[in-house]
Symmetry: C2
Subunit: 214 residues, 2 copies
């Protein structure tokens, strides 16, 4: 059904983000026992734009079947493969305060492809385990990241700790960092950095409210 090519250049990041959303919609449909769905029904059911869905998928191949639509399980598996979710990534969570704790319990992180295999915090009184995941000292970060083959780190540390921790992670061979600390980080070219700044989300909302002039 699906012929995909993963070497096409220049996929817009918004397309990648939407593939992630589509995958979640397809997981839901699969749980609900739906076998096939048209792009219109998919769009309607999950409040998506059907033309956008078709355009996004077209970057990766021809997934729809005329008169049938999409095979739910097949398309889900293809998208998981494209997103690198057909394997398990070992993740370190660094910082176990309010935000770290919320992220650890966040539904969805564990659902597809990611396993938090170690938590690090500089406060030794937090050492121990939560739901079977060890809480280790930040002092052992480099050694443990190497020993556990950790590829991705989630940073939930105070802003002043973010760059030193990142340097340790990079030295230990981390490949990607998801940064929640309100700090601009420097990483080498080969390390993928993604900043999540929660204030930005609120500020884009206020931009539109201010313009709407009510």
């Amino acid at each position: 059904m699906a012929r995909s090519s993963y070497r096409l250049p220049k996929i817009p990041e918004m397309t990648i983000r939407r593939l992630s959303v589509y995958t979640r919609c397809l997981l839901q449909l699969e749980e609900d026992g739906v076998k096939t769905i048209s792009s219109q029904d998919l769009a309607e059911r999950f409040n998506l734009n059907s033309a956008q869905v078709r355009k996004d998928l077209a970057y990766f191949g021809q997934f729809g079947v005329r008169g049938i639509g999409y095979y739910v399980s097949g398309l889900k598996a293809e998208l998981q493969k494209i997103l690198g979710l057909d394997r398990e990534w070992s993740v370190a969570l660094v910082g176990f305060g309010n935000l770290g704790s919320a992220l650890f319990h966040y539904k969805g992180f564990g659902r597809q492809g990611f396993k938090i295999v170690a938590i690090f915090d500089e406060d030794p009184s937090k050492a121990g385990a939560v739901d079977g995941t060890p809480i280790l000292s930040t002092r052992d970060l480099a050694r443990e990241v190497r020993a556990r083959g950790i590829q991705i780190a989630i940073l939930a540390v105070p802003p002043e700790a973010a760059q030193p921790v990142t340097d340790l992670l990079v030295g230990a061979g981390i490949r990607a960092v998801l940064n929640f600390a309100p700090a601009r980080l420097r990483v080498p070219r080969e390390v993928r950095l993604k900043n999540v700044d929660l204030s930005i989300e609120l500020e884009t909302l206020s931009f539109y409210l201010a313009r709407s002039g009510r």
Copy 2:
């Protein structure tokens, strides 16, 4: 120095997000006592792209002065005005579990333009106050949102509660919703909805890691 026009059509959302970043950089420079800065120095210091900075700002006017660069405080004030941060928005935080608590304490939300004036949780045992902000029952949501003139809501509730809570908020006249619950919400056209799905951030990282093929 700056002549701005806020009625220009079709500003890319990524530009708005970057204005928010620039504003934060300028606040930092102002704290450090810097009066003027060139776009190159601004870019270098905060790990930005100077051509991108100039292009983003050009949507709103001519802010640079030849031979000087940008006046830090003046540009900051202009950007705050553009982003609607020159006033204070009253915000409700709905859901006070791990994530809600992390969001309440998140630095940056309170720094510019936003004030969480009430927290709502359906668990009556949480009623009270945190750092002077009242924690109220979700049952009183509609009444309190109206009474307190709340314009923006941050949703940190379980996915199954997200749509019913949104319907209550919309009924009470909320203008914008920042949704952290992993649920696709429906809102009327005039309400601005922004979904923050933290799994998407991890999944875009794994997409690039999977493609880099190491």
